[in-house]
Structures are given as structure tokens and as C-alpha cells.
């Protein structure tokens, strides 16, 4: 991890610590929790798409698998939510392994199609396996996480819980990117053939990073289930996979910081656009378009450079 990344990470941590104190309104703290949960997924997607160059249009499915696994185990089977969380990660990782092994032999559009189909299949399962998932109308009453006698009931405490996990995952990803494995992943994006000839087990690495991103999706799903306490399939449709992809793209594919900022923009922006009432979607699309045109790939870097410049001026 470079110097820039370290200071960036410290600034981010400081921001995360004080953000809820600035917002105060519980509704907005809820939004910040969603930001954290979605960021977990987009960190994984950034590693998969931005760094390794393998697209996925099915990540809402891993998110859903995690949510339903954790939700069903803790509600129908009365298991501890913590067990649910662990199971969610493992189930999502396992399914990613089963799907990824054949699908990652495909490239580009074909891989996108395969993952899209996978997402759709999982979505249908959520809708149709009524005895377990409650079908289209879903099910509620999912318990919260508790530790000893203390339960994460308020949005405020849950916010810090979620973001502690997100920051850890983010730090882990920063370490990963600037390491032997990270270079191997990036080299696959650069030239798969050359990477392979330099001793990189390209199919092995592609599968591992797919499983990692699936597991992060599952983890996010469990955190979602025990926060919202109600699940229905709509949340995990293919459309949400597209939204996740947009988050990564808007923030900047080639940089893990893009995941965190892109997710922030796509989670928080719609809330502020409510004032425009019927026109909110129109303006939302316009803003995304402007970002992609004027700050392609490097949204974070653009913002960083602006801050750097203004700091220099201040000195």
C-alpha cells in the first residue's frame, strides 16, 4: 500500500467516524448503512471487474444468497445470526465456485451473459421456493445481531458495526492489490496470455477472485438481512446487479477507491434528488452521464487532486 493510499484510508476512516454525528437524522444514518453494505459488494466487484478484467452481471444473486441464507437460518431455524453470517459467506462463496468454474472459461460478453443468466435463475428461486423464502411477498421478523446482552438495535450502532467490517475489507483489498497476487490479477486484465506464460495460473486466479467477490456479496447480504429484518426477492433482481455495476463504473473501474465513491454517489444522490419529485430520475441520469463524460475512470483521483491543489494553495 502506497503512501497516498494510507493517508487516503486514514481520511476515509476519520470521515466514517464523524459522519453520523454530522447527519443526526436516523433516516440518513440508515442511508449511510446501506452505503456501507453496498460498498462491500462493489469492493469485490472492483477487484473482479476493474482489476482482473472479468465482468459479472450477477452479483445481486450473491447478495441475495447471503441475505436469504442468513435470514432463513436465523428466523426459520432459530440459529444465531452470527452463524447465519458465517453460513451466508460460505454459501455465497460455494455457489460462486460452482458457477465460476465453468463460467470463467468464457470471456467478455459471453461471461456477462452467463452471469446475467445465473442472477436471473437465483432470482426465480427466491420467488418460487415459497416454503423457504415466502415467495414474492417475502418474510420478516429476522432477528438483529446481538453480542452478550447487547443488541445492535439502533441504526447508529449498526452503522459503526457495518463500517468496521467495510473498512477492514477495504484495507485487505488495498493490501491485496499491491502484492504478488494483486499484480497477477492485474496482469490477467493486461494480457491473459502473457500472464499465463509468466507463470500466473490465470484460470485459478480468476476463480479465486470470483469466489472472493461472491463471498463479499454474501457477507453484505447477511448484514442487509439483519438490518432491514425483512426480505423479498425484488431487492435482488438482475436490475440491482446493473446498479452495482454502475456504482463501480461511475466511481472508476480501475481503482478500488472508485468502488467506495461510486457507491456513495449512487446510494446517496437519489435521496437528495427527491426534492425534484417527478424529475428525479431524469436528473439522476443526467448527473451520471456528466460524471462519465468529464471524470471517466478517475472520479476519486479527480477529487483527490482537487483537494491536493487546494491544500497546496492554503499552505
Amino acid at each position: 500500500m502506497g503512501k497516498g493510499n494510507l493517508s487516503g484510508f486514514l481520511i476515509l476512516t476519520a470521515f466514517i467516524l464523524i459522519a453520523p454525528l454530522l447527519v443526526r437524522n436516523p433516516y440518513y444514518i440508515g442511508i449511510l448503512v446501506f452505503w456501507g453494505i453496498y460498498t462491500l459488494i462493489t469492493i469485490g466487484l472492483s477487484l473482479l471487474i476493474g482489476y482482473t478484467g472479468q465482468i459479472s452481471l450477477g452479483h445481486a444473486a450473491f447478495f441475495g444468497l447471503g441475505a436469504y441464507t442468513s435470514g432463513i437460518l436465523s428466523t426459520h431455524f432459530k440459529l444465531s445470526p452470527w452463524l447465519g453470517l458465517i453460513a451466508a459467506v460460505f454459501i455465497a462463496a460455494f455457489v460462486a465456485f460452482i458457477i465460476g468454474a465453468p463460467a470463467l472459461k468464457l470471456r467478455g460478453h459471453y461471461l456477462a451473459m452467463a452471469t446475467l443468466a445465473f442472477g436471473e435463475i437465483i432470482y426465480i428461486v427466491f420467488n418460487q421456493w415459497i416454503s423457504l423464502t415466502g415467495g414474492p411477498s417475502g418474510f420478516g421478523g429476522i432477528p438483529r445481531f446481538c453480542l452478550g446482552g447487547f443488541c445492535l438495535e439502533s441504526d447508529f450502532t449498526y452503522y459503526y458495526f457495518v463500517w468496521a467490517i467495510v473498512l477492514l475489507a477495504f484495507l485487505a483489498s488495498l493490501n491485496l492489490i499491491h502484492s504478488r497476487v494483486g499484480r497477477a490479477l492485474r496482469s490477467i486484465h493486461g494480457s491473459e496470455i502473457a500472464a499465463n506464460c509468466m507463470g500466473v495460473d490465470t484460470s485459478g486466479y480468476k476463480l479465486k477472485v470470483f469466489v472472493l467477490s461472491g463471498a463479499l456479496g454474501g457477507l453484505a447480504g447477511s448484514l442487509y438481512a439483519h438490518f432491514v429484518t425483512f426480505l423479498s426477492p425484488g431487492t435482488f433482481s438482475v436490475m440491482f446487479s446493473v446498479v452495482l455495476l454502475t456504482m463501480v463504473a461511475v466511481g472508476g473501474m480501475r481503482n478500488i477507491w472508485g468502488a467506495i465513491t461510486g457507491t456513495a454517489i449512487l446510494t446517496i444522490l437519489p435521496e437528495y434528488l427527491r426534492v425534484f419529485q417527478d424529475y428525479d430520475i431524469l436528473i439522476y441520469g443526467g448527473v451520471l452521464l456528466l460524471i462519465m463524460i468529464f471524470l471517466p475512470e478517475v472520479l476519486v483521483m479527480g477529487i483527490f487532486n482537487l483537494i491536493k491543489k487546494s491544500l497546496k494553495k492554503a499552505r
Binding site: 493490501n175 499484480r183 492485474r186 496482469s187 496470455i193 506464460c197 509468466m198 507463470g199 500466473v200
Partner: protein, 268 residues
């Protein structure tokens, strides 16, 4: 000593290689061997199958028929990363540099076969991982110095000249610590001065004890630096031997004179 020499006599042996693409036969009954510690060149007109041989030896293609033996061990049908681990590395005719990695990171990827850190130790940055990372960095720096790019290490490849990008590929290939390096047209696209530098570098690689097998169109370069030459035409070996004997071989002259005339005409 005598026995050791016997063992390493044939570093690479290719036997009766045949490769078909659909209905097209790209290689037929191709056999040759490469002794250790020499520079050997594969020459032949365009489409003779030279690069196909490289792609088979490095594991990108598997042969339709025939064997590839490296140190008396079959390596056909192994995947490229395992072949790299066994000690064969390569460069590419149309550069396959990693544009999204800096110059030194490109070379560091080459250190993959002899390093171990996995996902977990990279995420946790264990002491072992840090030590290995340091070793990788130092080795890559050394190799960049060897090819003469030490001061370019933190740049991205796009800001290098074509010649320099070639050198990055060679440094990257050397980073795998190969016993045999395959250079696919190392002088293509280089000017006269750069070609001479390249010849010197290839010689230096051989001096390090690494066997060089190269595909090249620049006849002067080939005849200058290689100890042995294989001539390929339409997927068959038509001659093999020392440069002097190849230059006198009538079949080779017949094939090449045509092409040389053509090249001359094109130049004027």
C-alpha cells in the same frame, strides 16, 4: 561432469510435431533439438509456422501430434504457467506487455513462478510476504538494470519507446529465472542501432547460462549471434545446422533469395 553434460545435452527436444488449425496443416513432422548454453534461431518465410512452434513449446497450443520434451520430460499438454515454472519463458512478437502495470510491476509479475504468497498472506501482509515482496522488487530492479531500463521503473509502459517495451518484455521473461528463453522476433520494428543493442543483449543473456531460442527475420542478426539455425518452410524443417552451412544450403537460398529480392524491391 561428463554425466552432467550428458543429462543436459538436449535441453529441449521437439519430435514429429504436427499442428492443424481446422483443415490447415501449420506444422508437419517438425523435429529439432536445442542444446543447452547456445543461441539457436528458427528462420523461415512468413507463415512457415515459426510462431506456432513457440506457441506449442510455451503451452498456448497443444500439438495435434508429436512430443515436446524439456529436460527429457514431456511438456506438451501442460498449461503455460506450469511450463513457465519448469523453466521456459518467452516474449511476444506483437508485444503483450501489461499496460495497466508500471514497468517494474511488469517485471515483478515475471517473478511469479518462484514465489509463493497467496491471497491470505498478501491480505495480511505477513512477515514472510514482506520479505518475499522485497526479494521480488530487488530482482526486478536488477533485471531492469541488466536490460538498461533502471531509471524507467516507475513509468507506465505507454510512455516507453517500442524498443524499450521490448526490453521490458525481455526483463519480464528473465524474471521467471528460465533455463530456456524464447524470443519471438526480438528485432522486429527496431532500427539499425537498436538491433545491434538487441544482439548484444541476447548474447549477454546467453552468457548468463540461459539458452536462447529465437525466431527472427533479420538475417544479419541471426547469422551473427546464433550457433545453430533451423530453417522452416510451409510447416516443415528443410535444413538445420550451423549458420555457415545454412547460408550455403541451396534449398534455403532458393526460398530466401526470392524473399530477399522482394525485400530489396520494397525498400527501394
Amino acid at each position: 561432469m561428463e554425466q552432467k553434460r550428458q543429462n543436459t545435452k538436449f535441453l529441449l527436444r521437439v519430435e514429429n510435431l504436427r499442428k492443424e488449425f481446422g483443415g490447415i496443416v501449420a506444422l508437419e513432422k517438425v523435429s529439432f533439438s536445442v542444446n543447452s548454453n547456445l543461441i539457436k534461431a528458427i528462420i523461415g518465410p512468413n507463415g512457415a509456422g515459426k510462431t506456432t512452434i513457440f506457441n506449442i513449446v510455451s503451452g498456448i497450443y497443444s500439438p495435434t501430434k508429436g512430443k515436446v520434451l524439456f529436460k527429457e520430460e514431456r511438456i506438451d499438454n501442460l498449461s503455460p504457467h506450469l511450463i513457465a515454472k519448469k523453466g521456459i519463458s518467452r516474449t511476444f512478437q506483437n508485444l503483450q506487455i501489461f499496460p495497466n502495470l508500471t514497468v517494474i510491476e511488469n517485471v515483478m509479475v515475471g517473478c511469479h513462478p518462484w514465489t509463493k504468497s497467496g491471497f491470505l498472506s498478501c491480505i495480511l501482509k505477513t512477515g514472510k510476504n514482506r520479505r518475499e515482496e522485497k526479494k521480488i522488487y530487488e530482482r526486478a530492479e536488477e533485471l531492469l538494470k541488466f536490460v538498461g531500463l533502471a531509471e524507467k521503473k516507475s513509468l507506465f509502459p505507454s510512455s516507453l519507446t517500442f524498443h524499450q517495451q521490448r526490453l521490458v518484455e525481455i526483463a519480464r521473461a528473465l524474471a521467471t529465472e528460465p533455463e530456456l528463453i524464447l524470443l519471438d522476433e526480438p528485432a522486429a520494428g527496431l532500427n539499425a542501432r537498436e538491433t545491434i543493442d538487441m544482439a548484444e543483449l541476447i548474447y549477454k543473456i546467453k552468457e548468463k547460462g540461459i539458452c536462447v531460442l529465437l525466431v527472427e527475420h533479420d538475417m544479419d542478426l541471426v547469422m551473427d549471434i546464433s550457433q545453430e539455425v533451423v530453417v522452416l518452410d510451409s510447416g516443415r524443417v528443410i535444413a538445420e545446422g550451423e549458420p555457415e552451412s545454412i547460408q550455403k544450403n541451396e534449398e534455403v537460398i532458393a526460398i530466401y533469395l526470392g524473399e530477399k529480392e522482394f525485400v530489396k524491391n520494397k525498400k527501394s
